[in-house]
């Protein structure tokens, strides 16, 4: 379990991560999403002990991660930009990581490289951007660590490779209880593989919840008002536990984003005096948009 407690990190006067508290459970995949500059990469780098938090602490399996080399062999960090010695090839990197990660599976790694059609003797400098990402993803999976941290790993991979990588993660979750934290802008892909989602914005957490309950709790409803009634007359008395996240008028057609229990919302609309209503669950992308829009009007609250 990764516990991030009140962590803050500044770069000069820019608050990259501002008092974030998050819990990442074991044997689950945690998706880190957020607006550009929200602090996703900074947070991942702090979990990987590349940056030191200015305030707060990060506890992995009960131990503080900062300056703790034995803990470091428990996770593998795949950074957005790959670092490797000049002139190195994949074989060299395997050797290199073997010395750090006792559980590194060399045999599996070489066979995966072959399946992905990556030549282990060729210089990595000669690889394309996507091939480098593939290589480090394979190295990360084969490192045999309990935790895998991926910074925008899906972004930049082709659809076939993305499916394969997701299958690899699924397999290792089953086989050895792999826990992974994946930051990405590809929300569609995250929906397939994540148990939980954390949404960051301007260094803070907007929400962190199980994907299923998120999807089951937010709904888009479209309804048409009867001729002689206004929205206020028809849509009075919002039931307990339901809140309006967003509302849009187009004459008699009203679109609302609602948060709350599906059955409650249904019975509310059935009781209303309206011509027609339709309710659809939100996609992760729509959740992202509606949640960031919600705070867009009071950005100050997040910063200060």
């Amino acid at each position: 379990m990764i516990e991030i407690k009140n962590v803050t990190k500044n770069f000069d006067d820019f608050k990259a991560v501002n008092n974030i508290t998050l819990h990442i459970r074991e044997k689950e995949t945690f998706g880190l999403v957020g607006t550009n500059g929200a602090g996703k990469s900074t947070l991942l780098r702090m979990i990987a002990d590349i940056y030191k938090p200015e305030q707060g602490e990060i506890i992995i399996d009960g131990e503080n991660i900062y300056d703790n080399p034995t803990m470091k062999s428990n996770f593998f960090f795949i950074s957005d930009e790959q670092y490797y010695p000049k002139n190195a090839n994949a074989k060299y990197l395997i050797q290199f990581y073997c010395s750090y990660y006792p559980g590194f599976n060399k045999k599996r790694c070489l066979s995966l490289l072959e399946n992905f059609d990556l030549n282990p003797s060729k210089k990595i400098d000669g690889f394309s951007k996507g091939m480098k990402k593939q290589l480090f993803m394979i190295l990360g999976i084969c490192a045999g660590t309990k935790y895998l941290l991926c910074d925008e790993t899906f972004d930049g991979l082709d659809p076939v490779i993305r499916q394969t990588v997701k299958s690899l993660i699924a397999n290792d979750m089953m086989e050895r209880g792999l826990t992974s934290v994946i930051s990405s802008h590809n929300l569609r892909e995250l929906e397939d593989i994540c148990d939980c989602i954390g949404l960051l914005h301007k260094g803070g957490v907007l929400l962190s919840d199980e994907l299923n309950s998120l999807k089951l709790n937010l709904h888009k409803v479209q309804f048409i008002l009867k001729d002689n009634l206004t929205a206020e007359e028809s849509a009075s008395g919002i039931p307990d536990g339901v809140s309006v996240v967003y509302k849009e008028h187009h004459g008699r057609l009203i679109t609302m984003t609602l948060e709350g229990n599906e059955a409650t919302i249904h019975s509310w609309f059935q009781s209303m005096d309206i011509v027609f209503y339709e309710m659809i669950p939100l996609t992760l992308e729509e959740i992202f948009i509606s949640k960031t829009r919600e705070v867009g009007y009071n950005v100050k609250e997040i910063i200060f």
Binding site: E28, S167, A170, P281
Partner: protein, 121 residues
């Protein structure tokens, strides 16, 4: 074995549950047939194994499948389920007929339509 619709807005586990229910009720999967293992299904669909686990738990809760520890999941006897599903279906039909009466659709019109649909299928 099942296909996921990536444009479907429902959570994936709901889709998986529903697809298997259809396969079982339609008799494609018969009583005693073994279900694919969680791992093989998760890797073939490229989805989170916890999602599949959750779908299987739901199927088990709804009596569509049962689990033998160490051996996997198997399709249950669905006779009682079939009766329940039929009852549900007729309930939905009642609602439709009621809606139809608002649109002045007579029972005769409905029979006629069903007969034609039956012929063409």
């Amino acid at each position: 074995m099942i296909l996921l619709d990536y444009k479907d807005r429902r959570p994936i586990y709901e889709q998986v549950t529903e697809k298997f229910k259809t396969l079982i009720l339609s008799g494609v999967l018969k009583e005693g047939d073994s279900m694919p293992s969680v791992r093989s299904l998760a890797t073939s669909l490229s989805v989170n194994p916890n999602t599949i686990q959750r779908a299987y738990a739901k199927l088990e809760q709804d009596d569509f499948i049962y689990t033998v520890s160490g051996k996997g999941s198997f399709v249950s006897c669905i006779d009682t389920l079939m009766t329940e599903q039929k009852r549900d279906w007729f309930h939905r039909l009642d609602e439709l007929v009621k809606e139809g009466s608002i649109l002045h659709i007579s029972p005769e019109e409905i029979y006629e339509h069903i007969k034609q649909a039956d012929h063409s299928s």
